[in-house]
């Protein structure tokens, strides 16, 4: 008599990763666009775990992209598919560098990818920078986009003139949000407290200041077009800043030419004289001091040094002339760049360039450690740039796997080990399905306010909903 004994191993959704022959395991530090795009490509070859400090994923797509650019956030749909992939496991609420070290991750995984972006900002390095009324664009954007650490920013919007230092897309986003009619914003996912503050804002004039000239401006044409088309707002530029520009147009490469032509059009046409609000670029000016009022308690103006340009094109340099100019203003926003910071002493870091030194995404002198996104290349570029960069790193990592540069013969425990370790430290992760509960709660709150979503501003509130 034969009897057949069948042993069945059942793997439910909660027991991923317990099988003994597990295959390659990679983890990614950072749940923003770089992390998700890198994961998307890696998932074809390996299991991927994403560690993110906040309970919520998506990084700058959630906290950086302007509320009136919802189509740019459509990429969240792609990231959501990645997050829901059976071989992908998201762990929010885990602070890598504090709750768990890079070395501990490297022991648990065959490879680790650093995609933690740039959470710091470049400082102007001028006296008065710390005065009330002066903000980094990173913090101001974080404030209207609901970044928990910026919820107490309370910017004072009761002054007529705001000055923004820097002329990239972030600077233009800030200018546009300051001047946009509330009707344009009230159905977006801008935070309710920012919406109310902007509704009561007395800011009527925004100057966007750059060190160099119109041909070096860093913003892209879409953002410039949006400024030109702002309702009830006119452009206020200095014709002197544009001397020689018309002549230079014909030799410019097409994207730069179109951008410059649109700017020239705004200079020429100016806009509706009856407009209550105005904005303008101010070129060849560098900030040298934030001026305080008589009581010295807050910013009331900014002192700018006038520059002249040496050289031309993208590599033109600003040189001091010695002339100065004071501008009265009550709100100063410095938008001169984000900056990465070191995450862990075990990871090489280049303090001058503020990136993790690497060769095509392979971290210098550290086998099995990779990087993608802003922490790899520096904090510039749009989502498309980060996407291509992340795909490059993923490709390099897979090549290394296939070339035997990563020892895949050793089994690595992956999230199982890290979760156990975190538990001993009192840290509990938020899984992707738990983020989806936070997501649903935000959409529900938004609905009652006529908005796309009302973001939760408090991490503890997020955790309570996630683990409910």
């Amino acid at each position: 008599e034969w009897s057949l004994c069948v042993c069945v191993c059942v793997c439910g959704p909660g027991v991923r990763g317990l099988s003994s022959s597990s295959g390659p395991r990679v983890c990614i530090v950072g749940g923003g666009p770089a992390g998700f795009y890198t994961a998307q490509q890696l998932l074809k070859n390996t299991a991927v775990d994403i560690y993110e400090r906040l309970p919520v994923p998506f990084g700058l797509v959630r906290f950086g992209v302007a509320p009136d650019h919802p189509e740019v956030k459509n990429v969240i749909n792609t990231f959501t598919q990645t997050g829901q992939h059976e071989r992908c496991s998201f762990h929010g609420n885990v602070n890598v560098g504090k709750d768990v070290t890079i070395d501990e991750l490297r022991q648990a995984y065959h490879a680790v990818v650093l995609s933690y972006g740039a959470e710091g900002n470049r400082s102007m390095g001028i006296p008065g920078e710390g005065l009330p009324g002066v903000f980094s664009a990173k913090d101001f954007v974080g404030w209207y986009n609901g970044l928990p650490s910026n919820k107490e920013l309370h910017p004072d919007l009761s002054f007529e003139t705001a000055v923004i230092l820097g002329q990239g897309n972030v600077a233009l986003d800030v200018a546009r949000i300051l001047l946009a009619p509330v009707e344009m914003l009230k159905e977006t996912d801008i935070t309710q407290n920012a919406l109310e503050a902007l509704a009561g804002s007395k800011v009527r004039r925004v100057l966007i200041v750059g060190r160099r000239g119109p041909l070096q401006i860093a913003c892209t044409i879409k953002e410039l077009r949006e400024m030109v088309n702002l309702p009830n707002t006119r452009a206020d530029m200095l014709p002197a800043d544009f001397e020689g520009i018309a002549e230079a147009l014909k030799d410019l490469p097409r994207p730069r030419k179109r951008l410059t032509e649109l700017m020239m059009k705004a200079v020429k046409e100016g806009g509706d004289d009856k407009a209550e609000k105005c904005w303008g670029f101010r070129f060849f000016r560098s900030p040298v001091e934030v001026l305080a009022g008589a009581d010295g308690k807050r910013a009331t103006g900014i002192r700018l040094a006038l520059n002249k340009l040496e050289g031309s094109g993208e590599s033109a340099r600003a040189e001091v002339t010695g002339q100065l100019e004071d501008v009265d203003c009550g709100l100063i926003i410095s938008s001169i760049g984000y900056k990465s910071i070191p995450i862990d002493p075990a990871v090489p870091f280049d303090p001058r360039r503020a990136i993790v030194p690497n060769e095509m995404g392979r971290v210098q002198d550290t086998a099995g450690l990779y990087c993608s996104g802003w922490v790899k290349r520096g904090p510039t570029g749009v989502i498309a740039t980060t996407m291509n960069d992340s795909f490059d790193t993923a490709r390099v990592l897979i090549q290394d796997m296939e070339a035997g540069k990563l020892d895949l013969s050793v089994n690595k425990p992956g999230a199982q080990a890290i979760t156990a370790l975190l538990q001993t430290r009192g840290v509990r992760a938020v899984l992707f399905s738990q983020w989806e509960k936070i997501n649903a709660a935000e959409e529900k709150r938004g609905k009652s306010l006529g908005k796309a979503r009302e973001k939760l501003l408090d991490v503890d509130e997020m955790l309570k909903i996630a683990w409910s």
Binding site: H69, E71, V72, N74, V75, R225, V382, I383
Partner: protein, 135 residues
């Protein structure tokens, strides 16, 4: 320009099979020595039409008006594989690619908001397009 902008050029079809030499010099795969496509003797699987770039042998049954709206598009993926598909004037090029399982990223899902999908148009065809408008 965004790939999601409509495919505007129509290719007229003849009953006679015409062999046309494609302009490989504008193709990035050719320039990178990565082209693996063999033009001669190429067959489109599961299709009634034998295709070469831009040319189609029309079936007897389709009417001339219908033919004018058909555009033959060949996608060449990064491995050099040629994927011919049939499209219509007005089709969205990104959606067309996705419909045929071709990997093309479009982060903003064809809202013209992000530049992850984009096309390079050869200068001689570019000249035929209308001037871009700032809107």
């Amino acid at each position: 320009m965004a790939a999601s902008a409509a495919v505007r050029s129509a290719v007229s079809l003849t009953q006679r099979f015409v062999r046309v030499s494609p302009d490989c010099s504008i193709c990035p795969l050719y320039r990178l020595n990565a082209c693996t496509g063999a033009i001669d003797g190429f067959t489109a699987p599961n299709r009634r039409l034998r295709t070469s770039i831009g040319v189609c042998q029309s079936a007897d049954s389709s009417s001339p008006e219908e033919d004018e709206r058909v555009v033959n598009v060949v996608f060449i993926d990064r491995s050099g594989q040629r994927i011919p598909v049939e499209a219509r004037v007005g089709d969205n090029a990104l959606h067309l690619a996705h419909k045929h399982g071709i990997e093309l990223e479009g982060a903003c899902e064809a809202s013209l908001a992000c530049s992850t999908c984009h096309v390079y148009v050869s200068s001689k065809h570019y000249e035929k397009l209308p001037e871009p408008e700032e809107r």
